[in-house]
């Protein structure tokens, strides 16, 4: 065998190795995106439920109470394309609750307030972890060889939602 053909074989082997390696890497990333989203999703549902509870247990004026409970319901039952906006509204209205409780305008059982701040911290953490996975996946999927060989298959491209950025920005 000539040296050229040996060279060609070597390159083919290298490419094949790179493709299998990338495929398993991408599979792992997609898995991470899904599990981290599931965690975040369940935390968001918990948050909506907590918002309802806060409305029930506090002395909120009717207007604010209505705002919070509608935004909580909206976040809970929103369709995919409306979800981000609904969660943003809920984040904002819960922030109102927290600042009102801090100024002692609002009477709220302390357990609920502690639960709210714990949950907000957890949501922030979950968003952080989820976005990380989303970004990493998107970066890998941008690579030319991976696009040419369609290694991502039919898996949907993970997206960032506006509400996630809002929450992180508020934290900084």
């Amino acid at each position: 065998m000539s040296i050229e053909s040996l060279f060609v074989v070597l390159i083919i082997i290298l490419i094949a190795w790179y493709l299998t390696f990338s495929a398993s890497r991408l599979d792992r990333l997609h898995h991470r995106v899904e599990t981290s989203w599931a965690t975040l999703d369940s935390l968001l549902h918990q948050r909506a439920a907590l918002a309802h509870e806060i409305v029930a247990e506090s002395n909120l004026d009717p207007a604010t109470a209505y705002l919070i409970s509608t935004s909580a319901s909206a976040a809970r039952f929103a369709k995919l394309d409306e979800r981000s906006a609904a969660e943003s509204v809920l984040s904002e209205s819960l922030k109102l609750v927290q600042s009102a409780a801090r100024d002692e305008v609002l009477q709220l059982p302390t357990e609920l307030l502690v639960e709210l701040s714990d949950l907000t911290a957890k949501v922030r953490l979950a968003i952080n972890i989820h976005l990380e996975a989303v970004n990493a996946t998107r970066n890998v999927r941008k690579k030319p060889l991976i696009r040419i060989f369609r290694l991502a298959g039919k898996a949907p491209l993970p997206v960032r939602y506006a509400f996630e950025d809002d929450v992180l920005e508020a934290a900084n």
């Binding site: 390696f21 792992r28 990333l29 898995h31 981290s36 965690t39 952080n128 972890i129 970004n135 990493a136």
Partner: protein, 379 residues
């Protein structure tokens, strides 16, 4: 948990891992720590698993004792396979070490903590693409400081949650005041002082000026190292004003930090967090530190402790003299510092780490070897 550095050499990362492991065990978790150990005859804690002898490698101005190679790799794999862990916590997974080996071998809920902060180096361009897919496997990343986080951002374009290193504040606050370390005006320093970046030279250079204003000042230098050369260069008249104490035990260190008047951290760079500062703060001692970014962050821009211009011993002397003369200001600074150190207490810190763990294991997977997951070995 995986510790990259030799267990029996003192260092911030090792202490962090030991304290975290002990805290988690006291809360009823099962913890196992895989780490290199230099001295085989050493008696190890129950939860520590020896992975072999580390090799000393100079990095970042000090000597890191790390371990890698095929034998270490197979040991790490064995440990992961037999441990059947819910979660793997890797410390410093981005440097070539046991943590990196474990990270590349494992699959499942992985959490990584990044301790170092270094400016962007050329070398990272070369190994970056190799490390990226490995670092990417971590489910969640923790950085010990904002600096470590920005290092991570520069090198791997990923973000991390910032959770500071924890300390057992009570231990320092309740330490016994020892006669050995008290006197009218004692100034303390702890560290491997032979390393230039620890900045002992800056501190010693400030002595002539400080001694002119405060004649009974006493510099207490603790830490392992050869002190002869340092003593020789000090003016003979002032030699009595400096005392080298050698390596202190943990108990001695606690009472040292509690007893001295001022703790000085003259480090010239390469620090990511500065755990010693928070320890001195929680002992209720006034702290003076160089204004490198890590220390500035811990001392909240001078609110929790005084800062001086990095590598400027004249400025250091000025700050020291002012503080030694003004008892009220010193006490005010110390009490501010003690308050701000509370957020580094293990109770607070461990809770944050545990919620990261919770997120990571939410997927319901366990830690497995990635080689078990290849399609031809799947059952």
């Amino acid at each position: 948990m995986v510790c990259p550095y030799g267990w029996d050499t003192p260092g911030g990362v090792q202490t962090h891992i030991r304290d975290l492991a002990e805290h988690l065990i006291s809360e009823g978790h099962y913890v196992s720590v895989l780490t290199p150990v230099s001295d085989d005859s050493l008696e190890l804690e129950d939860y520590v698993v020896n992975a072999g002898k580390p090799i000393p490698i100079p990095v970042n101005g000090s000597v890191a004792r790390v371990l890698f190679g095929p034998i270490a790799s197979s040991r790490a794999k064995q440990w992961i396979a037999s441990g059947d862990f819910d979660l793997l916590h890797l410390h410093e997974p981005a440097i070539p070490s046991l943590s990196l080996l474990a990270c590349s071998a494992a699959e499942g809920p992985l959490v990584g903590t990044f301790h170092v902060s270094t400016p962007k180096k050329k070398a990272i361009y070369a190994i970056g693409p190799i490390l990226e897919p490995i670092v990417e496997k971590l489910t969640a990343r923790i950085a010990v400081s904002e600096l470590a986080r920005s290092t991570l951002k520069d090198h791997f374009e990923t973000d991390a949650v910032v959770i500071p290193n924890g300390i057992d504040g009570q231990k320092y606050a309740n330490a016994i005041i020892s006669k050995d370390y008290t006197g009218e005006n004692t100034i303390g320093f702890i560290g491997r002082f032979e390393e230039p970046r620890k900045g002992l030279q800056v501190l010693l250079d400030s002595l002539p000026i400080v001694a002119r204003f405060i004649p009974d000042v006493l510099y207490l230098i603790a830490g392992p190292g050869e002190s002869k050369d340092y003593l020789k260069q000090i003016n003979p008249e002032l030699r009595g004003r400096v005392k080298f104490l050698g390596l202190l035990s943990d108990k001695e260190k606690e009472s040292f930090l509690k007893s001295i008047q001022i703790y000085v951290a003259p480090n010239t760079g390469g620090e990511s967090f500065g755990i010693i500062l928070t320890e001195a703060l929680s002992a209720g001692t006034a702290v003076v530190a160089s204004d490198i970014p890590a220390f500035k962050a811990v001392l909240e821009n001078g609110e929790a402790g005084a800062l001086f211009q990095n590598e400027d011993s004249t400025d250091l002397a000025k700050v020291l003299v002012e503080l030694l003369r003004d008892k009220d200001r010193r006490e005010k600074l110390a009490s501010n510092g003690k308050l701000s150190a509370q957020k580094y207490d293990w109770q607070v810190v461990a809770e944050q780490i545990e919620s990261v763990y919770e997120m990571a294991i939410a997927g319901g997977q366990r830690v497995t070897l990635s080689s078990e997951n290849r399609f031809w070995s799947r059952r």
